[in-house]
Subunit: 342 residues, 2 copies
Amino acid sequence: MKPVTLKEIAEQLNISVTTASKALKDYPDVSKKTRGLVRELAKTLNYKPNTFAVNLRTKESKTIGLVIPVIVHHFFSSVIKGIISQAEKKGYLVIILQSNESYELEKKQIDLLLSQRVDGILISLANGTADFSHLTEVISQEKPLVMFDKIAKIVKCSKVIIDDRKAAYMATQHLIDIGCKRIAHFRGALLPQNSIDRFLGYKKALLDNNIPYDHSLVYICECGDMSFEEGKTNAQQLLKDHDDVDGIFINTDLVAIGAMTQFNKQGVKIPEDISIVGFSNWFMSSVISPTLTTIDQPGFKMGKTAFKQLYKEIKAIKNKKPKASKIITLDTALIERESTKK
Amino acid sequence: MKPVTLKEIAEQLNISVTTASKALKDYPDVSKKTRGLVRELAKTLNYKPNTFAVNLRTKESKTIGLVIPVIVHHFFSSVIKGIISQAEKKGYLVIILQSNESYELEKKQIDLLLSQRVDGILISLANGTADFSHLTEVISQEKPLVMFDKIAKIVKCSKVIIDDRKAAYMATQHLIDIGCKRIAHFRGALLPQNSIDRFLGYKKALLDNNIPYDHSLVYICECGDMSFEEGKTNAQQLLKDHDDVDGIFINTDLVAIGAMTQFNKQGVKIPEDISIVGFSNWFMSSVISPTLTTIDQPGFKMGKTAFKQLYKEIKAIKNKKPKASKIITLDTALIERESTKK
DNA sequence: CTGAAAGCGCTTACAG
DNA sequence: CTGAAAGCGCTTACAG
């Protein structure tokens, strides 16, 4: 069953394809009668314009691309939901690609999206990304690009982020406020900006409170597929290295939960012996025991905001107006739970 | 910066567009020399075929649509990952839409995908879907359609599922094996086939073990956004209604975790007082306390398999071969953990 | 081995 | 108010 074309509608009504096309698109220069006839027939024949042809003519696909490091991930899947729901409102479809934290894959995927001629691209960087030529390529093609969460400061495009430094500061300050004196930090991988910023926020809170910064209290985790295990390993190592730590600020909830599991196993009491603050507010954090104090990171809102900004830029380019890059910072909040109850 | 076209390449080399096109597509009837020249120039100019034009000519988009009830969901996001990763291997892109468990939305989205002319559609039904005309529409357009997880038996298309009845039977039998005598069931919504099948598996296990089926032991939850709360409410109600229940088989891990939280709060010990088996094996289930016995549901594999089947059907239709609908059943396994340790 | 021509199904500037 | 014509950028059957 072949789809109905404009030509067939025109023939059945003995009018031209031009007129049929105009009638369906509310052009003012079509008689009411003709318009009515065309619309009716289109409806009964279940006519749907051929997107391929429309795209070719209009040079836009009403489709955007999304490159994201992980999908099975509470925060990122919330972002995806935010993007899709907002895009749908504006009549845009979203193609999703997962970079799996690999720079190589990410580069290939950007290329794919470019050759697919999506109208714009949304990206959160892979941990492994240190070179940005694939992104400058997007920008040089005047294709709207918005980065979110894991961004690169150096790339000139719009960004939607949280203030990671401030949030980490808040988290650390909270540990200090409840009386912690020796505060460790499990940081994320070395490259990502947000992992760097969280580390800096931790450090600044210490210094502002006259607590000396001790490099040996900082542990690294890659925060890839193995986050939970990394949390366990780091916790174990920490117990070996230091017997005086009474608080930890941990880069990600999942790592924090791994650490808690390990502490549990070794008989270390939370929060009595060690208080813990995580980051992201995964749903899980509110149901484990003890419940985890953490920083709420607004994933859904971030997705929505990122799409909105992309949409603005798509419209701007279409109307040949200058598009202004913007950096949008969303609010975070400290969620106090049992893991820091004193 | 306008993208390079075939025409420009042809002009620069003083050959025809036809030859340029053939050279890039490995047609055998192009001289080696010409082919080399074209390829080289294409590369230096960073030529990328205009997908819109290619789609219009070939009538395929190398894009498929995916309609899924929820995205922020451990099982479904695993399925998405499976689909995307497999699709990428075959050069297909995936457009993702979320039905939010709403029939109306689902219908609209199918329509959208159809008018987008995707090459095929993958769907897991919304809880609210009881009418299937939107799906028969897809089939009548000879567009490949594969359902997974939440399917409708009545729709004639390929399906990728688990044997929910058998898995539920296993779960219930496990409770019986460890000595439970009064076993309750928190079932899912009334319409979805998998929720019906899990209920039937539960019932059959009871009967096969000469345990009378008691309707008042079955509680319903919609399993939408409120799963966790539903688990709590049901648990509370159960404690009011029955003081002799010693085991519960629960439709979904998230509901089970809600129930466990409530039991905890009310001082009911798991597994000493009540043993619990969940369903799905969310990551969370292995980190809460006590850890949750559950049925492992292979999300990633389901996604992969669903795409593979869809791909086969896309190829079959392209080659005008008959496409055979297939029902593929994936294995599940019981994961024994602390919530049923006796 | 090469190329002219038709055509995929639209949109839109232009003429009447 | 209507329509003929050009064109978006490809692919492919056909002729030479």
